[in-house]
């Protein structure tokens, strides 16, 4: 019979399933960062003057900032001058009008990932804005959405086609001064997605973006902006896998969501950036700023995330609950295996009256993984009747990993109700034996136990995404317990 230790070793050596590199000619700006690079990025994208000014303002502000050190993660200093700040597939010069014009190499990449665009277009009814490196290569279902007045396109395109909307909302939730990584993003963001749902419109399909880092040593600076006007509804899916790399890659995205009166935005993420090898070499640094503003009354923003990848994750999708009766939700599964580190959680800022927030965080640590939940619930003075419920569960696999919880509560209104529950458990040998005695393999047993643990989060995901998330979790944890 295999001993637990043997099992761990055999299976931990399994290679990252999505580790391959697509050979495509890259058009890059020289390494390093200075004002000229910022200008060059802006010029390449043919941006209006105000946007260049905004980038420059951000860049100058960034120079005055220091990399934050408070997160419970360890990494060698990042040399910001050694990275490339812009790379685009060359075919970008003549933007493809349809999938037929898309570089076949790119399409093959997606196929390997199991997300062929054509199939998605035809079968799943998901509109895909695929971001390959920094530039969108294909946008589908646009016409159908356009009939409803929904705008769903790459960020660059939005800048060209709808500058008034971009100008109005860009930086309205995450100001350019917000934090070191968000400010860097504001200076050098390359592309991303833009969605605008007009008043009273319910978006009839899930909007989806597949991100992918491909160019060697290319920092990724995605920028996503979603605006739901009064009474609008949208569900947005973000998912990603990254090819195998030896060198650490920085990913500093910004996502801004705005929900006006009675609007609802549901934002779901399955994140599977390359986590590094079993020794902790390589992997993506995922330093992301995600924030939603429930600006209108009765508005709702819901974040659901499944984080299995990245060497380091630093991410706190939050909600500013400004409108009265607005609702913020955060459902999260974060997995750390081998030498992965995650410091993730949420911020719920209650500003308006009777605002409600729910936080359900499930952390899974295996191998030498370190998993920290960091959550802030802030109830401001005027937030009469505000309520928060937080639940924070950790699951440990093996005895070399760690789980940490850092809840911050700041309550300035005496009528507020705040509840926090936390638990830590270990996958028991008795649970695994019970499953095996019923004929299930150890792997299946672990998969089942872990999925059971994450159930409350998975059920918040759209169906097809939930299936993908469960699979990912299985892959990420293979061989973690013998």
């Amino acid at each position: 019979m295999a001993t637990p230790a043997n099992n761990v070793e055999t299976l931990a050596t399994q290679e990252y399933k999505y580790g391959f590199v697509t050979e495509i000619e890259q058009e890059t700006i020289p390494r390093g960062l200075n004002e000229n690079v910022v200008r060059l990025i802006s010029a390449k994208k043919n941006e209006p003057e105000w946007l260049l000014e905004w980038r420059l303002k951000s860049y100058r502000h960034w120079l005055t900032m220091e990399e934050p050190k408070w997160a419970n993660v360890k990494f060698d200093p990042i040399d910001y001058q050694a990275a490339y700040y812009y790379a685009a597939p060359k075919s970008k010069a003549n933007r493809p009008k349809s999938l037929d014009e898309v570089d076949p190499e790119l399409l093959k990449t997606y196929e390997k990932l199991g997300i062929p665009l054509q199939e998605q277009e035809l079968l799943s009814g998901v509109a895909v804005d695929a971001v390959f490196d920094s530039v969108s290569v294909a946008t589908t279902f646009k016409e159908k959405l356009a009939k409803l007045g929904i705008i769903f396109c790459s960020f660059s395109e939005a800048v060209q086609e709808h500058p008034e909307l971009v100008r109005k909302w860009l930086g309205s939730v995450v100001p350019y001064t917000d934090n070191f990584f968000a400010t860097l993003n504001s200076a050098v963001f390359s592309d991303g997605s833009f969605a605008y749902i007009p008043k009273g419109v319910r978006c009839p399909m899930e909007l989806s973006t597949y991100f992918r880092i491909n160019a060697k040593e290319t920092g990724q600076f995605e920028r996503t902006l979603i605006v739901a006007e009064e009474g609008a509804y949208v569900s947005y899916l973000e998912g990603c896998t990254a090819p195998m790399r030896d060198e650490n890659q920085l990913h500093a995205a910004v996502v801004e969501l705005v929900a006006l009166d009675n609007a609802t935005i549901k934002y779901s993420t399955v994140q599977n950036w390359y986590p590094g090898d079993k020794e902790g070499k390589g992997g993506i640094y995922n330093f992301v700023t995600k924030r939603g503003k429930c600006q209108g009354v009765n508005s709702k923003i819901s974040w659901t995330q499944v984080e299995t990848g990245s060497a380091i994750t630093w991410k706190y999708p939050g909600c500013i609950l400004q409108g009265d009766n607005s609702v913020g939700e955060f459902y999260s599964v974060a997995v750390t295996n081998n030498y992965q580190q995650a410091d993730t959680g949420t911020k719920m800022i209650h500003v308006g009256k009777n605002t409600r927030s729910t936080i359900v965080s499930k952390g899974i640590s295996a191998g030498h993984g370190q998993n920290s939940y960091r959550g802030m619930v802030k109830i401001l003075k005027n937030a009469t009747g505000a309520r928060n419920y937080s639940q924070c569960d950790s699951l440990l696999m093996g005895d070399k990993c760690g789980a940490h919880t850092f809840p911050y509560l700041e309550v300035k209104n005496p009528t507020a109700q705040v509840e926090h529950e936390a638990s830590t458990s270990k996958i028991g040998e008795d649970q695994i034996f019970y499953c095996r005695q019923r004929g299930l393999s150890t792997e299946d047993a672990i998969g089942m136990i872990v999925n059971g643990f994450c159930k409350e989060v998975f059920r918040e995901l759209p169906m097809e995404f939930a299936v993908e998330a469960q699979k990912l979790l299985g892959i990420s944890l293979e061989g973690s317990v013998g």
Binding site: E429, Q437, L440, G452
Partner: protein
Amino acid sequence: MLLEIKNLHANVGNTEILKGIDLKVGLGEVHAIMGPNGSGKSTLAQVLAGRDVYKVTEGEVLYGGKDLLELDPEFRAREGIFLAFQYPVEIPGVNNTYFLRAALNAARKHRGEEELDAMDFLTHIREKIKLLEMDETLMNRPVNEGFSGGEKKRNEILQMAVLEPKLAIMDETDSGLDIDALRIVASGVNSLRGKERSIIVVTHYQRLLNYIVPDFVHVLSNGRIVKSGSKELALELEEKGYSWLDETVPVSERA
């Protein structure tokens, strides 16, 4: 012969628990293994199921003529060995029906049979749920989570009924059951008796054997089978108590 245990020794850490068990179980037979606390009854059950906290140090176990000790627990299960746990384990968040279907399909796949989908499976188990007078809502709850003691034991027997093992080992299934639950569990087990299935009932008390009448009774004491006989042996034991056994153990072996 379905099961043949020869001179089986097993340890936990450095402590020897089983000190040379010999036992033969033929197909279709029901054997009761009785004995005082600490005699090694549960250890024997767990060793047969393949729990690796117990180390077999000597002896062999043949199952259908094949070396059982070579097999990992899940393969023993798929080959038809079922252990009804004394303390069934809770698995939070995992749906009871889903779990049982996964277990059945693992065995079916192993046998080269087609796996059952959710609908077929429901049809398959409905009858068995009725037989065990189980509350059907338990099937939609997480495995054993929040179940009463009696519900957990009934759930074990339901699993046994669905998995249709060749060899069922029931580890103190009667413990913690009131008389009604005992009757239901026993009738469930009795309905599973048959030519193609052998059952080992591990119990401390004779009580269960009024309901599940064994073909053979073995008395385990201090890691060895010290007496074997027909069902009357259980009654004799009930009457005289386990201390009677001490007199049956050779003087040289007494503690």
